[in-house]
């Protein structure tokens, strides 16, 4: 199940957890838990909105359009797991 999540993410056709939950036929709360577990084990990482050097910028507050939006990306470990 967890490997399927990584594989489906790597395919790039799924954009949200809701779509992923539907594709896997699991409830979204369960998918959220699986994503959190994959993140805690280093297969996914939360993408940080912003960049190095933004800290000193007077306009940095404008950069993150939604601070509650969580975006997960595959880590190198995640990509290796997909490839294996």
């Amino acid at each position: 199940m967890l490997k399927r999540i990584l594989r489906m993410m790597a395919m790039g056709e799924i954009q949200t957890q809701i779509e992923l939950a539907t594709a896997l036929d699991v409830p979204e709360p369960l998918l959220s838990q699986m994503v959190a577990q994959l993140a805690s084990q280093g297969y996914l990482t939360r993408a940080v909105m912003g960049a190095d050097g933004c800290e000193g910028c007077s306009l940095h507050m404008q950069c993150n359009p939604d601070r509650r939006l969580r975006i997960w990306t595959l880590t190198e470990k995640g990509q290796r797991a997909v490839a294996s």
């Binding site: 490997k3 957890q17 699991v26 084990q41 912003g50 950069c63 509650r68």
Partner: protein, 684 residues
Amino acid sequence: MHTHLGQQRHIGGRSAQARHPVGPEGQGLDTVVVALAGQPNVGKSTIFNVLTGLTQHVGNWPGKTVEQKTGHHLHQDHDLLFVDLPGTYSLSANSVEERIARDYIIKESPDVVVAVVDAAIPERSLYLLAELLLLPAPVVLVMNMMDVAEQEGILIETGVLQAALGIPVVPMVATRNEGVELMLDAIMSIVDGTFVYEPRRPTILATHQEVLAGLIALVTDYVPEPYPVPWVALKLLEGDEEIRGVVEELVPENVRQEIRAILHKHEDAVLDVAGARYAWIGRMVRAAVVRPKVGQVGLTSRLDTVLTHPFWGTLALLAALAGVFFLTYTVAGPVQGWLEDLLAQLAGGAVRWLSALGSPAWLSDLVSDGLIGGVGTVITFMPILAIFFATLGFLEDTGYLARAAYVTDRFMHMMGLHGKSFMPLLLGFGCNVPAVLGARIIESPRARLLTILLAPLVPCAAQMAVVTILGAAFFGNAAGVVVWSLVALNLVALAALGVVLNRFVLKGEPAVFIMELPLYHLPNTRTIGLYVWQNIVAFLQKAGSVILVASLVVWFLSYFPAAGDISQSYMARLGRAIEPLGRLMGLPWPVLVALLTSFVAKENTIATFGVLYGDFKAVLPTLLSGPAALALLVFQMLFVPCLATVAVMKQESGSWKWTAIGVGLLLVLSLVAGIAVYQIGSLL
């Protein structure tokens, strides 16, 4: 010395026994030890309090600072000693609470473990149950908060779940004391053996069963009592660092090396082990949990069916953008007018005051035109920015902006752009500098380069402010539509350029990310207020630094060497040199100069207009025809990025060539579009 309750039972390789009484209520009675396990906030403490009341004993877990609570309850002539385990999400030794919970169950062997689950979100707690079932203690499952689940339209068929799990399942509303007696009966049915306890535990995939068997064979002779050998082997396979450390200390060197080799080879076994548990949870939930049908779903799901829909979602996004601009004009416009009046009075007063002091003419000009005309004009943006950020803050706080990101992302996918590029591009709406810097998250150099080249086409907040001011000056009531169209033009240009570059630069690399969209909720005025305040302060800081310097430079170039005769100034010489180009767009040289100063910072266009024309909102419409005004706005929107953005383009691409190509592309695009708009518009 233990007092046996009924017949000795063998569960998971251990013998379950009742204990001697521990507390005062239990004197002379058999004591049944019951551990209460569950995630935080599932009502475990409520159950504990209902059962134990004044018999509670509060202390710390041995050697830990985590609170330990125990208490007694008398049921059917049995003393039940309840031990409230720390709230945990799993038993994976990720935290001290998780270690306490699993150590207690393994080492103290409670007669029964009660797993408390939030019935409204059973999936969240069932992973813990999946792990509890692997330990040598019988488990009773309590589905608490059944009333909340019912309110959410979730139906839990506890009988079906009991049959599927093979363990007692009890529905409960602990806050109303409902189901507590049933739970006590279920505990006693386990203890006295009247319930046939045959749990259906999650299994692991066949591909790893042999590996597990190999690990079991390796550690069997070394695992101390009371640790169950299969559980220890499974934890090793899962990558449990604590268990691995303990095992490595106990086994001889050759076995240690063998274990390490196996674990290294099967580093990702945790995906299959934990994945199988989630598949097991999925099966249980599908069997026993009935979720609301379409039409009964929650607010978020209902709204998302429209707001994330490919067509309706895009329409909603366009409508939201139009709403933002509409509000910005209708609310901020009049306030900006008052500020301008105030500024004019201030400039007049300053000039009179300086004249009275006998200061030279250039100083009066510097203050009224350079400082107040430049920086002051930019400060009149404030109402527009305040409304702009307030509406954005409102959309963000409701949870809508995340959907906007989702819809935008899909749009870019359709246009053949790299999906992951959406994140840095989204940043571009604030400022293009982090948009370019943010492209670092893209692994592929080609995709990263494409994103860097496209990022400046996303209209930043400063650009939006400029076209908002100029749009209002030229097009009055139609300004909202014009600005909205300009944003759409930029996004279309971005997509078109992306498609073209994608065909030659990047070839269909897949996106690897997913979004977790937040729930919708009512916005918080304090949060929005803080968001607006922080942005306004940031803007004023910028006005007091970059824009101040640029305004003074522009004033200097427009005042000297002809002592205020702008037609003979350095600026005029520069402007006249490029005037032929401006003529193709119907723009006089001062307008071109103002556009050029936006290379330092986008807001400088307005500051320069303020220096050169004074009340430019009144003057410019008399100088420019409709097509020329539109050409000016189109040119401004598509023009080369500001200096800071160009600097980071060079830094991030590591190439002057690509930086020049990126800037050149935008210069050509802005010129071609500006000329086309003016020439075609003049023919109509």
